[in-house]
C-alpha cells in the first residue's frame, strides 16, 4: 500500500539530465543574484554577473528544449508503470486529475487521510511545474530590462515598455528580486514534498536514475 514503483520510464535520462541543469542553474542564479544584489560575498562583481548571465541563457535553452522534447520523448504518464506515451500528455489535462485539485490541497493540509488518485503528476503539482516556465521567462525578461537600457538594442522598446508599465527601473528591480523569492519558495516546497513522499525513491530516480520497486513488489 505504500509507494508505487519508481521506474526509469517515469523520468527518461534526458529529463534527469535536464533536471540537473535546472537545479544547477537556479541555485547558481539565486546565489549570483544575491551577490549582485548585496555583494555579501566579496567576489568579483563582473564574475558574478558573468555567472548570472551564462546560467540564465543555459536555463532558457534548457527549458525551451525541454518543452520541445516533450513532443518527442515518450515516458510514463501514470504512477508506477513502465507503459509510456508522449511526454506532452503529462502536461495536458488528464482524466485521473479531474476534480482532484481541491482534494489534493486538502490532503496536504491534513484535511483528509487518504492520498488522492492522480496521474504521474497530480493536479497541484502539474500547475506548479507549469508555472515555473512563465516565471523563468519572466525573470529573464525583467533581468534583461535591468541590464539592457545602456545596450541600445534594436529590440529595446520591448523592455522599455515593460519598465514604463511597472513605473520605473527600480520597480522592475524589486519585481526581479521578489521573483527570485518565488523561485526559492517553489524550490523549497518542491524539494520538501518530493522528500516527504519517499526521499530515496524520488531522489534516487531524478538525480541518479536509480529505480526502486513499489511497496507491493518489494515484498
Amino acid at each position: 500500500m505504500s509507494h508505487e514503483g519508481h521506474y526509469r520510464e517515469a523520468h527518461p535520462l534526458i529529463f534527469v539530465f535536464q533536471h540537473w541543469v535546472n537545479l544547477i542553474c537556479m541555485a547558481g542564479l539565486a546565489f549570483s543574484g544575491f551577490v549582485i544584489h548585496g555583494s555579501f560575498y566579496a567576489i568579483s562583481m563582473g564574475g558574478a554577473r558573468m555567472i548570472h548571465f551564462t546560467l540564465m541563457f543555459v536555463l532558457a535553452v534548457n527549458i525551451t528544449s525541454r518543452i520541445i522534447l516533450s513532443f518527442w520523448v515518450k515516458d510514463a504518464n501514470q504512477l508506477g508503470t513502465r507503459e509510456v506515451d508522449t511526454d506532452i500528455k503529462n502536461w495536458l489535462p488528464q482524466k485521473e486529475n479531474k476534480h482532484q485539485l481541491l482534494e489534493t490541497a486538502k490532503y496536504y493540509l491534513f484535511m483528509r487521510k487518504e492520498r488522492v488518485i492522480s496521474a504521474k503528476y497530480g493536479a497541484l503539482q502539474k500547475i506548479a511545474y507549469l508555472a515555473t516556465v512563465p516565471i523563468t521567462f519572466f525573470m529573464g525578461y525583467t533581468g534583461f530590462a535591468l541590464y539592457g537600457p545602456a545596450q541600445q538594442w534594436p529590440v529595446w522598446g520591448f523592455f522599455a515598455g515593460g519598465i514604463s508599465l511597472v513605473g520605473g527601473i527600480m520597480t522592475m528591480r524589486i519585481i526581479h528580486y521578489f521573483g527570485m523569492w518565488v523561485v526559492i519558495l517553489f524550490t523549497m516546497v518542491h524539494a520538501y514534498l518530493a522528500a516527504i513522499d519517499g526521499f530515496k525513491a524520488f531522489y534516487g530516480l531524478i538525480f541518479l536514475w536509480r529505480e526502486s520497486p513499489g511497496a507491493e513488489e518489494g515484498h
Binding site: 479531474k98 527600480m170 528591480r173 523569492w181 526559492i184 516527504i196
Partner: protein, 379 residues
C-alpha cells in the same frame, strides 16, 4: 557684419577671461555631448559666433526651490557656457529679470503674442486644489503654463520637477505635483514638442547642448536631430547609466565596497553601491560632464548617487542609503527573508505532522475519487 559679430563674441570672451583656445575646447566638449565628432567643434563655434540671431525665450517658474535657476546661473565665475546661454534672449524669468509687476507681465505677454519662442519651464505643475496650490500674478500656475505653452516653438522642461513633478510629487503629494508632459493634453499644448532634462537640479551643460542643437542643427525645424528617447530626453545625454561611466567602477568589479560610512573603505574611495548608490539605474552623463563648472559630482565627492535623474525619483529611490526602496513601508529584503523563513517553518511543522501521523511512511490511496463518491451518493 559676420566678422564684426565674430570679433564681438571674442571680445566678450576675452572680457571674461576666456581665450579662443578655451572656447574651441569647450565647443569640442559640447560636440561630444551632442554625439558629434570633435571635428564639429569649429562648426559649433561658428554657430555660437553667428548666433547673433537671438532666440527668444521665456523661463517659467512653477512650484520650485529655484535650485535649477541657481545651477544654471552659476553666479560668480562666468564662463563659456554663459556666452552660449546669453544667446537666449530670456524675456521673462522671475528670478533674474530687472522688470517687475505689470511691466514684467507685459514683456511676457508680448513675447507670447509674437510666438516662436522657447519656453523653459522650471518647477512642478501644481494641480492640487484646482491648481490653486500655486498662484502667480493672480492666476493659477496651470493657467500661466497653458498661456505660455500655447504659442511656444518648443518646451524645455528643466529639472525633475518640470519633467515629472520631481520631489514635490513624492507621496502623499498634497499639491498634486505633475510634470509638464503629464498635463500637456489637459492644457491643450500636446502638439508642442517637449524636451525633458531631468535631475535635481538640472545641469546647465545640458541646457547649453540643447541651445546649440537649436542654433546649429535647427532642432526646432527638425526635432529628430535632438534624438529624444521615449521619455523625451536627449539620448546622448541620458542614454547611459552613471554606473557605466563611474570612476569607481573598477572597485565595483573587484567587489570592493563601502559598507558603512566612516570606515577605511570610504577613505579608499571604494564603490558606494552597498550604501545605496543608484548609479546602476540612473541614466545621466554626470560622470562625464560633472557639475559646478566640471569641478566634481556626487560620487566623486563621496556621496552615493540618489538617482535624481530617474522618474518619480524620491518615491523610487528613498531611503537613499539603501539599495532598494521600501515596499509598503517594509524593506524588500525583510519581506523576502520573512517569506522564506515562514515557508521553512511551515514545512518543518508539516514534516513533523507527516512523520507523527505516519503519513511519511506511505498513506493509503483512495479507492475512488471524493467527487465520484459524492456523485454516487447523490444517486
Amino acid at each position: 557684419m559676420a566678422q564684426e559679430m565674430r570679433e564681438g563674441i571674442y571680445d566678450l570672451l576675452a572680457a571674461r577671461g576666456v581665450s579662443r583656445r578655451d572656447f574651441l575646447k569647450y565647443c569640442g566638449s559640447v560636440a561630444a555631448m551632442l554625439g558629434l565628432s570633435e571635428m564639429a567643434a569649429p562648426q559649433i563655434a561658428a554657430a555660437v559666433e553667428g548666433g547673433a540671431k537671438l532666440q527668444p525665450a521665456v523661463w517659467l517658474d512653477l512650484g520650485l526651490c529655484t535650485g535649477c535657476t541657481e545651477s544654471t546661473a552659476q553666479a560668480g565665475n562666468p564662463n563659456v557656457a554663459d556666452i552660449v546661454l546669453d544667446l537666449l534672449s530670456i524675456n521673462y524669468m522671475e528670478t533674474i529679470m530687472a522688470a517687475a509687476g505689470d511691466q514684467a507681465e507685459e514683456a511676457k505677454a508680448k513675447t507670447i503674442e509674437e510666438g516662436g519662442y522657447i519656453l523653459i519651464v522650471e518647477g512642478t505643475v501644481m494641480t492640487g486644489e484646482g491648481g490653486n496650490t500655486l498662484r502667480i500674478a493672480g492666476k493659477t500656475g496651470m493657467e500661466v503654463l497653458k498661456e505660455a505653452a500655447s504659442k511656444a516653438a518648443a518646451i524645455v522642461a528643466v529639472g525633475s520637477c518640470a519633467v515629472d513633478g520631481g520631489w514635490v510629487r513624492a507621496n502623499p503629494n498634497p499639491a498634486g505635483g505633475k510634470g509638464v508632459k503629464d498635463v500637456a493634453v489637459e492644457l491643450g499644448f500636446d502638439k508642442v514638442p517637449i524636451i525633458n532634462l531631468p535631475t535635481c537640479p538640472v545641469n546647465p551643460e545640458w541646457i547649453v547642448a540643447v541651445v546649440i542643437d537649436v542654433l546649429m542643427l535647427g532642432a526646432l525645424e527638425n526635432l529628430a536631430v535632438l534624438n529624444l528617447d521615449e521619455l523625451g530626453r536627449p539620448k546622448l545625454i541620458f542614454g547611459q547609466t552613471i554606473h557605466d561611466n563611474c570612476p569607481r567602477r573598477g572597485h565595483f568589479e573587484n567587489g570592493e565596497f563601502v559598507k558603512q560610512f566612516g570606515t577605511v573603505e570610504e577613505v579608499k574611495q571604494f564603490c558606494l553601491y552597498e550604501v545605496g548608490c543608484k548609479g546602476p539605474q540612473t541614466f545621466t552623463n554626470c560622470p562625464k560632464v560633472r557639475w559646478n563648472r566640471k569641478a566634481s559630482w556626487c560620487v566623486e565627492s563621496g556621496a552615493p548617487c540618489i538617482g535624481c535623474g530617474n522618474l518619480n525619483w524620491v518615491d523610487n529611490d528613498a531611503p537613499f542609503l539603501k539599495r532598494m526602496p521600501n515596499v509598503g513601508g517594509v524593506r524588500p529584503e525583510t519581506i523576502g527573508t520573512v517569506l522564506g523563513g515562514a515557508a521553512a517553518a511551515g514545512l518543518l511543522v508539516h514534516g513533523v505532522a507527516s512523520f507523527s501521523s505516519g503519513r511519511a511512511k506511505g498513506a493509503p490511496v483512495e479507492t475512488s475519487k471524493a467527487y465520484d463518491k459524492k456523485k454516487g451518493g447523490d444517486k
